[in-house]
């Protein structure tokens, strides 16, 4: 984890007693943690509770986090251990194999949840996905390329600038404009 990393900056602040910085780590990773948990926790009603337990454990352990590995790798391990403890408490066996941290990001846990989830929440999730994907689809080509290279390929601004043959400032602006366009559609939906 390098010093330019947002996670590193936030962890340093938390370790220095700035507790409010932890809310950003929760906001950043809560959906990814919930998605990993769907592999273990079949009852959708428990997903939020177990996710909360994960972050409370993370908060307790943060003073001893030294940054030898990436924060997400560390968080992933805590998530899997918490999920296994949850299954043990429910007298259920954990799955025979674990998925790794990279696979976890693309793991489709929604199918497992659909059986137990309420129709309203399923409808809402579908609506959110549609709004995001439809807006991306309608973006000008250069904005679509910039946001895709950043979010899907994980490229840095410098790398995107080389590929798109434009200054870094332009990349920064294009990525922001793409996000801003999606946000204009997404914000009213989430505030309902």
């Amino acid at each position: 984890m390098n010093e330019r990393d947002l996670d590193f900056q936030l962890i340093q602040r938390i370790q220095n007693g700035e507790q409010q910085a932890f809310t950003l780590l929760v906001r950043k990773y809560q959906n990814r943690v919930a998605n990993i948990l769907t592999r273990y926790v079949r009852n959708s009603g428990d997903i939020a509770d177990v996710t909360q337990e994960v972050f409370i454990k993370v908060h307790k352990s943060l003073p001893s986090f030294r940054g030898d590995s990436a924060f997400y790798t560390w968080l992933y391990r805590i998530t899997v251990n918490t999920a296994k403890n949850y299954l043990t408490s429910q007298s259920r066996r954990p799955p025979a194999s674990d998925i790794d941290a990279v696979e976890a990001d693309s793991y489709d846990g929604s199918e497992a949840l659909k059986e137990a989830d309420s129709p309203e929440s399923i409808l809402r999730s579908e609506e959110i996905k549609q709004v995001i994907m439809n807006t991306i689809d309608q973006l000008p080509a250069e904005l679509k390329a910039a946001i895709t290279l950043r979010e899907l390929e994980g490229m840095s601004y410098d790398e995107i600038a080389k590929i798109e043959d434009c200054p870094i400032g332009t990349v920064r602006s294009r990525i922001f404009r793409a996000r801003d366009a999606i946000d204009k559609q997404l914000a009213p939906l989430l505030e309902e």
Partner: protein
């Protein structure tokens, strides 16, 4: 607002993180909401079936309930535990301790006199390990081993030793 959000966008991507924008983000709920939505966009793009939950407020409320590190009293190893002088249990233990020490001393005296009065057991000649137990008097361990056999063995050893000495004296005479 637009400029702030552009800074927020690059901050999410680990580009251009300055402490001023980070301070603003940490302390501004509105910016945090934008941060969450930007994050959600990425999650959905990477995985169309990504789950969308917001538990940040519940987590922070739960953390606030828990004791902070500052309130934990450190345990100092060298600090002696104060003992109340008027405690009846401690007084009893103290008196009992005195009796216990006296009994131990008496036991050691009896044991020593018992050991000195025991007949000296002949050493088997093995220098490596003394198998005679504390308090004197060894009993045979093996059912097949008998006192007669050990005396025989001793005699054999004496005979071998005498033979070796005689041989040595003969060699000395030859050398002279």
């Amino acid at each position: 607002m637009k400029e702030t959000n552009e800074q927020l966008s690059s901050l999410i991507d680990n580009e251009n993180i300055d402490s001023k924008s980070l301070d603003a983000l940490i302390n501004d709920k509105q910016q945090q909401a934008v941060f969450s939505r930007y994050q959600l966009m990425g999650d959905v793009m990477r995985n169309e079936n990504a789950i969308n939950i917001d538990i940040s407020e519940q987590v922070m409320a739960e953390i606030a309930k828990q004791p902070t590190l500052e309130t934990v009293t450190p345990i100092i190893a060298n600090e002696p535990t104060p003992i109340k002088a008027d405690n009846n249990v401690i007084a009893f233990v103290k008196r009992f301790g005195q009796y216990a020490i006296a009994a131990s001393v008496a036991g050691v005296v009896v044991m020593t006199s018992f050991m000195t009065s025991q007949p000296v057991v002949e050493n088997s000649g093995i220098e490596v390990l003394n198998t005679v137990p504390f308090g004197g008097g060894a009993s045979p361990v093996s059912l097949q081993a008998s006192q007669k056999l050990s005396k025989q063995a001793l005699q054999d050893r004496h005979e071998r030793l005498e033979a070796l000495l005689k041989d040595h004296q003969l060699q000395l005479q030859v050398q002279q």
